[in-house]
């Protein structure tokens, strides 16, 4: 058993995390206009992520640029949806309003919730996640496809970086290009990465076929997951939380 696999034995069953991530991200989509409820949901999500053992420092390193982008999107959203008390106005244009800030914050929290939900899976080995998917009756091929997709993400990022480097080494100074040429440059970058991904996928498929993937209809697993009493308690907790949130949303109970 790999170290990560051994560590995951002490973690909640991945099916518990599937349920948790599903509930959190579903409510992130459903909640509209209630900032305090969204903050509460985010707090629950962060608490769960901490308990599961998400490495936030590593997450920050990996997603720093994306988070900066999300912050910019939220600020833009806030600027373009002004409402309520005006906090800053320039040349008759409402730049900052209380309502705009609330909308921007909602967008940021919603995206943050998706990221936190996804981050919980990083604590598990791919093998355990696939096993979890298979044991919730997802077809093995589909579960395996998801895991392969995840594995290819860093490779794609590396290829994109290499392609950008190679392109610049042809004497193209990107900063000097006009917008139209810059846009055409990005099409040159994306195309080889897509082709390379398809070629990688084809080679992987061939290699899997050569190792008799799907030769037998039913697969057996040496490593099988079983729900511990603590997992069942957590599942019950998630169910109770879902009902509570559902009641708040449907009945409109203003607890905040």
């Amino acid at each position: 058993m790999t170290r990560k696999l051994q560590r995951t034995v002490r973690l909640p069953d991945p099916r518990v995390v599937f349920a948790l991530a599903f509930v959190l991200s579903s409510f992130a989509v459903v909640i509209r206009g209630n900032l305090w409820l969204m903050i509460g949901l985010m707090a629950v999500s962060l608490l769960c992520a901490v308990c599961i053992g998400v490495d936030f420092r590593q997450m920050w390193r990996r997603l720093r640029r994306l988070l900066q982008l999300l912050l910019i999107v939220s600020i833009l959203r806030s600027v373009f949806a002004p409402s309520g008390t005006i906090l800053l106005e320039l040349w008759g244009v409402q730049i900052l309003t209380v309502g705009g800030i609330q909308i921007g914050a909602l967008v940021l929290l919603r995206l943050g919730l998706f990221i936190t939900s996804g981050a919980m899976f990083t604590c598990y080995s791919v093998r355990v996640l696939i096993q979890g998917m298979v044991q919730i009756k997802m077809p093995y091929e589909l579960a395996y496809m998801v895991s392969v997709g995840v594995r290819f993400i860093p490779q794609l990022a590396e290829e994109l970086k290499d392609s950008l480097t190679a392109l610049q080494l042809r004497g193209v100074v990107i900063e000097e290009l006009k917008l139209k040429k810059k846009l055409s440059l990005y099409t040159y970058l994306i195309l080889p990465v897509i082709v390379s991904s398809m070629q990688n996928a084809k080679e992987l498929a061939m290699s899997m076929e050569m190792r008799a993937f799907r030769a037998e209809r039913n697969r057996t697993s040496f490593y099988a997951l079983s729900l511990k009493p603590s997992d069942i308690v957590m599942l019950c907790g998630i169910l109770a939380f879902t009902i509570l949130m559902g009641v708040i949303l449907i009945v409109g109970v203003d607890i905040f």
Binding site: D162, S163, A166, G171, V172, V173, E175, L185, Y188, L191
Partner: protein, 224 residues
């Protein structure tokens, strides 16, 4: 080509960031100036040949020390500026091919740099002829054989007319006749004062290039 280009690596040390796979590797080179028109770096796998080549081409930035082109430190240079002086051929040619057609591959970077279309295509056609790729000029780039991709990548590196080339395993996938053609092309470039840093395991090709050989081991030049 006018004056001879000088490349110099001074007091270089480099190690890969912790997140990368080769975190146990470190390179230290006190002083390296490719002597003669063609210098070959040879050594075992993992000895640091490619890392040295990438440092020389400005693809990697040293932790300490400096890389000088014609006596000027390139620390603040953009990759595009470096590419106008030094051409680099990657070990894996697919990573430096961008377009669906070979003819476009050799002309698009010129067009981006503002070269008129006719001029860019003439130059591209000439390079395709030189590397015996004319017959596949309208084929799909991605389905070419490894050898064809390698030749196309070398031709593409030559488009910007750099004054120095770093070629990482340029003979991989080339048959004997095409290795000969490559050697001829490189000799013709050398006659125009273009310098070459050749990273290779191919002793016969290194001999053919009459290169000055330097040996790398454990991240350093052993003959320094």
């Amino acid at each position: 080509m006018d004056e001879r280009f000088t490349l110099e690596l001074r007091d270089i040390s480099f190690s890969y960031p912790a997140r990368e796979r080769r975190q146990n590797f470190s390179l230290a080179v006190k002083h390296f100036v490719p002597s003669g028109q063609c210098t070959a770096i040879m050594g075992e796998n993992g000895s640091g040949k490619t890392t040295l080549g990438k440092l020389a081409a400005g693809l990697l930035r040293p932790d300490a020390g400096c890389v000088l082109y014609d006596g000027e430190d390139i620390a603040g240079w953009k990759l595009g500026q470096i590419g106008r002086q030094v051409g680099y051929l990657f070990q894996e040619p697919s990573r430096q091919l961008f377009t669906p057609r070979p003819l476009e591959e050799l002309s698009f970077a010129q067009k981006l740099r503002g070269v008129p279309q006719d001029e860019a295509e003439d130059k591209a056609t000439e390079l395709l002829r030189q590397f015996e790729l004319e017959h596949i000029k309208d084929n799909t780039t991605y389905t070419l054989s490894r050898g064809e991709k390698q030749r196309l990548a070398i031709a593409a590196a030559m488009v910007a007319q750099p004054r120095f080339f770093v070629l990482d395993e340029p003979t991989t996938g080339l048959d004997k006749r095409r290795r000969g053609i490559l050697a001829e092309t490189l000799h013709s470039l050398m006659s125009k004062n273009v310098g070459i840093l050749l990273i290779s395991h191919d002793c016969a090709f290194v001999d053919e290039m009459q290169a000055d050989i330097r040996i790398m081991d454990g991240g350093g030049l052993v003959d320094a």
